[in-house]
Symmetry: none
Amino acid sequence: MTSSKKKEKYDLILDAALKVFAEHGFHRSQVAKIAREAGVADGTIYLYFKRKEDILICLFREQLGRLLQLAHDAIQDITDVKQALRTICEIHYTHLENNVDLAFVTQIELRQSSLELRKEIGIAFKPYIELVENVLHKGIEQNVFRPDLNVKLVRLLILGAIDEVVTSWLISGQKYSLAAQVDGTVNFFLQGIDQ
Amino acid sequence: MTSSKKKEKYDLILDAALKVFAEHGFHRSQVAKIAREAGVADGTIYLYFKRKEDILICLFREQLGRLLQLAHDAIQDITDVKQALRTICEIHYTHLENNVDLAFVTQIELRQSSLELRKEIGIAFKPYIELVENVLHKGIEQNVFRPDLNVKLVRLLILGAIDEVVTSWLISGQKYSLAAQVDGTVNFFLQGIDQ
Amino acid sequence: MTSSKKKEKYDLILDAALKVFAEHGFHRSQVAKIAREAGVADGTIYLYFKRKEDILICLFREQLGRLLQLAHDAIQDITDVKQALRTICEIHYTHLENNVDLAFVTQIELRQSSLELRKEIGIAFKPYIELVENVLHKGIEQNVFRPDLNVKLVRLLILGAIDEVVTSWLISGQKYSLAAQVDGTVNFFLQGIDQ
Amino acid sequence: MTSSKKKEKYDLILDAALKVFAEHGFHRSQVAKIAREAGVADGTIYLYFKRKEDILICLFREQLGRLLQLAHDAIQDITDVKQALRTICEIHYTHLENNVDLAFVTQIELRQSSLELRKEIGIAFKPYIELVENVLHKGIEQNVFRPDLNVKLVRLLILGAIDEVVTSWLISGQKYSLAAQVDGTVNFFLQGIDQ
DNA sequence: AATGAATGAGGGTTCATTCAT
DNA sequence: TATGAATGAACCCTCATTCAT
């Protein structure tokens, strides 16, 4: 009972933080504002999080975990690596398009943080990196992807490219469909721009 | 004479800012520290820049201008669009590898800014975008690149991919050569990962 | 039974407080820390003490009571007032030397309190004051001490002098024997510094 | 000019701090309150003092310096060591009686500080200690004071005794004359209480 | 143009105390 | 009696910006 309540309040705060961060940005979001939004006292925040930055980190971990789970489950039964890559991209775009608040936090606010925090984020991001690298490795083994690929570099290129598309879509004011970019994106990944 | 002095001091401040931002990050760089580094009084900064963020914007414009000029000059006489793309990527990587301070400011510090600032930065970034898009358009016209390319999307994908490679190299502690990634990067852009 | 348990817990808390106050100082000693040391819940503290300062006051009362009892018992059968004074001083120094935690609390932490608290402390200190004044009065009656003594003033001088010796010994890091100062102290009280 | 203004503001703040500390105590005195009393902005305080505690230390140094100067000047031409001791005591009592705010700060507020701060205070107090010890040494040399005196111990006893008299006078509400205690105090120091 | 002293708004965090259970 | 989760008031200090000189 107590633990369920604790869980509830923990989530209450994270939900409130997501909303407040998305609206005002990390630096402009006072802890007091998050507390008010969550319906708890300022001090209560500090029963669940060590400091303000921790809220951001936990929020990211939690949310990235869901995205990862979605992607993981979706490619579980897919043997076609090209299709797997497409699915990852599709889920990535779709999930962020359906969760604009989350998109703002990951694409904009999360970058406004100290180098130390970015390293923390990097660690949390590891499983997602591995998901992509696994697909690449499998593709090379299956002779579907070119054997001379530098997997780490290609992974950077793919995730950097995806990231920029999402950020650009956000900054533009979400005036077009993000999910509609999947085909163009994946074709680029697979065939490049050369004739 | 006066204007030349003004020019001098303006540059003095920007040079100081680049150094200080790179060392301490934007938020940890007090205006007073930049002033001391530049050898001027705190108040003098405000004769040349409206506010602290302006220093960052101007610094970015100035430096991006140089990179743009380098790239522009280098592809001037190149008719082979593939080679042009390679040259842009090569200059981008090489220039940032040779100017780590600049790299830190553009890849890390510049992101730690408000949405408004990022829009400003976007505007300054326009000419670089056009440079890349021009190459893409030319390549399509020449039937070297695929005719169905969504140029804006591909440009995002290319610049996002490059950006991530640079950031990752920085965060890793510049433990390997950035310029050595040109081949892998451009091959990916041209042929993708498909066999 | 209940009252005995209460007594037990009351003492448990005071013992914990003495330890925690001595180690961290009054202001740096959170109520939570005392509670943990005592093995009770935070809220339980408030069943026995009105507020944090009360713990300090009660602790002082309790401990001073013991010192007073020791001194009182020791001079009970002493008719020589000079010897009585020496005994009081000896017990004071010895007791604090043997209870450094207590010394820290009385000499350092107790002073870090509001004027109001110091008045409370003054009241608790009354019996000790009377003990000393009684010896002085008796000495005057017996024509052992000078008849023109201002008893209240002399009592202040004596206790102030003793207090400073103890504090200085503490701050010095207890590098010498406090009890060894009894002779020098009492000689000063009795004969002054004049040849 | 500038330095004279700086001096002025420095003193303005110290004067304000003395008043505010005396009235509300150190811990209850917000920096903002001192600033308002001094007629400067909050931030200005920090142009002259590193932190709140520094104000207290500087205040003490400044004021103790004056008291020391007074005592030093007064005993300059006195060859009679007994008279010198009397003069020191007289000036101490008189000065604090004439500067009740100062008395509150030195006797009450200054004690409510961390052990570290008390060490700082101890250093500032050194010259005063030496003043007293010099008189004691001289008295022993002149065969006026007993040759077997433990000078350091006696100095502690004397200053401790004086200190307690002042504090007691303060806590009592200054209902009697402090200066009137000089005779009783000095007689005690010289002859003790023995017949 | 240049100075640099002065300004003052702004917020994360602690912790004594309460109260529902 | 006992718990301990929740409360929320309280405050020092930084630093971007201004302005009198």
